[in-house]
Subunit: 333 residues, 2 copies
């Protein structure tokens, strides 16, 4: 059972202020006598003391917490992002509250409200739709807000995301060069800003190579899952009558599905299939194919996002700044 400052002060016959000053390490600053210092320190050493954060928060109107709101915490990208954020928070004495929204705008709103009610000082959000500013401005005077991963056009918050257009352009170029012709792009969840950007990059690189009918090579599905990948591959094979020479996928999940379908149709994974995919995983090594993968830099994304919230928490005004982080393209085989 932790003692309170007041209890300590009465039990050793010293004022509350004195105890507090010593516990908070401001003894020198206020020239507390060595005697009193020792008294308090010894008491704490034997009986212990734990700061009561709720009480402090009530007084300070500050909780030293940051909320992290993303569609799915189990998604490897967000999980890595979150782990990096947590490191930053920890180094500054902040703790991270996290929640999944399951890509449900309703739930997202409730989650943000809940975090606001808990007085988070900062909020990192990967929003599942164009963010509602009213919600944030209305409720609390000053919460630091940063948007990540999903850069909805015209949103008014600082936003940190990967360079989806650029990396998609580079990836597409590479593949077209290797294949010597157009590449099929399987992409899911086309309403997402990141996916739209990737399609833009794809079209730019395709046009560069004189592929004016690039739209014919974009195959899109509504959900980012392996099933989407399977469906897209099946449809493509049925329409064309043969398997593609080169595919590019907007996520590893889609790639998994596409490969599974190919394996079940043709009996094996043709090792002359050229592959390109967003996101990377060590197990891509398991394929003998030529394969390019786009590596997002979660550490850097998290660093920038954290810097921005921290600056806002220290009083800086939040500019609707776009921060775009380059991606690395890894080649295998």
């Amino acid at each position: 059972m932790p003692k309170t400052i007041k209890e300590i002060s009465t039990e050793i016959g010293v004022s509350i202020t004195t105890v507090r000053l010593i516990i908070n390490g401001q003894a020198e600053k206020y020239r507390i006598s060595q005697k009193t210092q020792k008294l308090v320190e010894d008491y704490v050493a034997t009986h212990g003391y734990v700061l009561h954060h709720a009480a402090r928060s009530l007084k300070l109107e500050r909780t030293d917490t940051v909320g992290f709101v993303v569609p799915d915490l189990a998604n490897p990208f967000f999980a890595r992002f979150m782990a990096a954020m947590e490191r930053h928070c920890r180094s500054q004495g902040l703790v991270l509250l996290s929640a999944s929204t399951n890509d449900d705008p309703e739930l997202e709103t409730r989650t943000i409200d809940n975090f606001l009610s808990r007085g988070v000082d900062g909020l990192i959000i990967a929003p599942c739709r164009m963010p509602a500013h009213k919600q944030l401005f209305a409720k609390k005077s000053k919460v630091a807000v940063v948007l990540v991963d999903r850069d909805y056009p015209q949103n008014r918050y600082p936003t940190v995301s990967s360079d989806n257009v650029g990396s998609s352009r580079a990836l597409t170029r590479q593949m077209i060069a290797d294949v010597g012709g157009p590449v099929d792009f399987f992409c899911a969840y086309t309403t997402l800003p990141s996916i739209r950007d990737r399609i833009n990059g794809f079209s730019e690189a395709s046009l560069e190579s004189g592929i004016t009918d690039w739209e014919r090579y974009v195959h899109s599905a509504m959900e980012d899952c392996a099933t989407s990948g399977r469906h897209l591959m099946r449809e493509l094979i049925e329409t064309r009558g043969n398997r593609p020479r080169a595919i590019m996928t907007s996520s590893l999940l889609v790639l998994e599905g596409a490969i599974q379908e190919l394996k079940s149709v043709t009996g094996n994974i043709p090792n002359d299939l050229f592959i390109g995919t967003f996101d990377d995983h060590a197990m891509l090594d398991f394929l003998p194919n030529r394969i390019y993968s786009v590596v997002q830099d979660e550490d850097r994304l998290a660093s920038l996002a954290f810097e921005s919230v921290q600056a806002q928490m220290k009083g800086a005004v939040a500019e609707p700044l776009r921060m775009t982080i380059p991606c690395q393209i890894v080649r295998r085989n």
Copy 2:
């Protein structure tokens, strides 16, 4: 700027209690007149109201938060576990605070202290060593504690973990049956209870088949990473002079490393290599090999862990109960 109950009460000329009762939905119960109800409701509808959690916590000595402390939040197993925990918490109006300990006992202690100081009602911990009971008992009268994934012998907390012995035994049996002989087991981080259990299962199944020198087939490393897998594979090949016919790995990371090494030594991944591994991933489909993988049931692990903290939060005494969740073994090719 959110109004407080007090502000609302003075602004519409009603007492604090009345406002609170209405806001908390207890109007009927205390027969607040329709008139007053409407008054307050209208006010809230236009001006809004957000509960101040810190204030409530201070009074109630309860924060409606649960701490989640694991070695690495980015680890897919813990990430899935966490996502499941968060769902449970959300459904009960609790929020999850999460932190990585990086397998550092020092940091683990600090993290737990921090969470305790923030008054978490519950604590889910995947401890990186035999848990220190003093810490928890001393600091706060009643925190609900549940240990997960790592079942240190003689710990006194309720513990939820996968059936590592059983699944390892089953996996080893299967492989021995398929291969018709002993299997090499690459395992990292042998000080971990889960790994020790897996080795136990391995030895049991080996002995069943008359492999009395099973220890010769256990190759262990200190760290759970791809590098460990590479080293173990290299050593094995150098010692034996040829590659193993069948390997079993204690994690996907180790498997990745082992395969990478094989690929770089022999030039390709021999497709007659029998593989068994703990943990599962869709990309295992990319290998043409016969491969067994052990699927841990994060949802069920999280459910049981959550039930236990919740019961404790409601006053139940924490029995040092062991809960062991069976794993599924998936076969490919």
